[in-house]
């Protein structure tokens, strides 16, 4: 019963939308039919594209450890730290706001500020499962072009942010992050 209620709550917008399309179908059969056709076509495509990606995402999550990489990304980690920041960010899964708690842990462990920003940038827009999905929906050319522009773009943004913030401001953000974890 409780579980059923939960499901009902989670799907309430989907159900409302379905009901709205149902009403549309009654009032304007032609338009309603077209809306249903549009939607089912899209759903078919999605259910074909999605399964392998989520499988890979699950495997990635289980097999790739995250904590061990942290120590390679601090001050003086150089190009290795930059590469790792890109890698960890793009191996992640989940929305951007999921990256902020991870960022807090990274700050506590002392990862370099520019690496932190690279990690955030990679998480936001270069996640591998998303990239696979982007290729599937918008084409290989589109996804590859965006990726090629994103890499220098993320580096530039990280660099600019580091220049725009004083060392003291960065220090304060790091200190605040520590209090967020306890």
């Amino acid at each position: 019963m409780k579980k059923g209620k939960m499901i009902l709550k989670r799907y309430r917008f989907a159900l409302i939308t379905m009901a709205a399309v149902g009403v549309l179908l009654l009032l304007q059969p032609q338009i309603g039919m077209k809306a249903i056709q549009n939607s089912t076509f899209q759903l078919q495509q999605m259910f074909f594209v999605i399964p392998p990606i989520f499988l890979l995402l699950g495997l990635l999550d289980v097999w790739v450890p995250k904590t061990t990489m942290v120590k390679y990304m601090g001050e003086g980690s150089g190009i290795k730290g930059i590469l790792l920041s890109f890698l960890i960010g793009s191996a992640a899964a989940g929305p951007l706001y999921g990256a902020f708690p991870v960022a807090a842990v990274f700050m506590k462990k002392g990862i370099k500020f520019s690496n932190l920003m690279i990690f955030i940038g990679a998480w936001s827009t270069m996640k591998i499962p998303m990239f696979l999905f982007e290729m599937g929906s918008l084409g290989v050319k589109f996804a590859l072009t965006r990726l090629a522009v994103d890499i220098p773009g993320i580096l530039m943004i990280a660099n600019t942010l580091q220049k725009m913030l004083t060392a003291k401001e960065v220090e304060e953000i790091y200190q605040k992050a520590e209090t967020l974890l306890d």
Partner: protein
């Protein structure tokens, strides 16, 4: 075509994982299902909404707002929409593909996809909690401006 490659990779990875560790594989499958089921409600709502919207907003209207000839104003509009909406990428990409088929331009869709992923106006309160006001505003602003460069290059290569 790409999809078949992903099916191949996923199946091989799954078999290797299963050989190495059954328990871990089971938990990976569970995670895969859970992360899919997590977005399913939004997915369904989004598909239905866009599917219905597209009946009214025909090709002519979409091309006018964010079509090939809408130029930089269309890019700006698409970038703004991408910044303020919070659609998971698994929903956003098919939506973007749908809009492209309905007459949207590659430059405009490039800006939309880029700001959608990099700029989060709705999640700013959360981001400020972690990064403070200054860093949050600057990061989002830079990502917004950068998305125009993304749009421009995509137009040059794909459009």
């Amino acid at each position: 075509m790409e999809t078949y490659i992903f099916y191949g990779i996923a199946i091989i990875a799954l078999l290797v994982s299963f050989q190495k560790n059954r328990a871990k594989t089971r938990s990976a499958l569970k995670k895969a299902w859970k992360s899919f089921e997590n977005i399913l409600p939004q997915l369904l709502t989004m598909v239905l909404l866009i599917g219905t919207l597209l009946v009214f907003a025909d090709t002519a209207l979409i091309s006018k707002i964010v079509g090939k000839d809408s130029g930089w104003l269309g890019v700006l509009l698409a970038a703004l929409i991408g910044s303020v909406t919070m659609i998971p990428p698994f929903v956003a990409f098919p939506t973007a593909a749908m809009l492209l088929r309905a007459g949207a331009g590659y430059m405009q869709i490039g800006a939309f996809v880029s700001t959608l992923m990099m700029v989060g106006v709705v999640t700013m309160p959360v981001e400020i909690q972690y990064f403070g006001k200054k860093l949050t505003f600057l990061r989002n602003l830079l990502a917004f401006v950068f998305s125009f460069a993304v749009a421009w290059v995509i137009q040059g290569v794909v459009g």
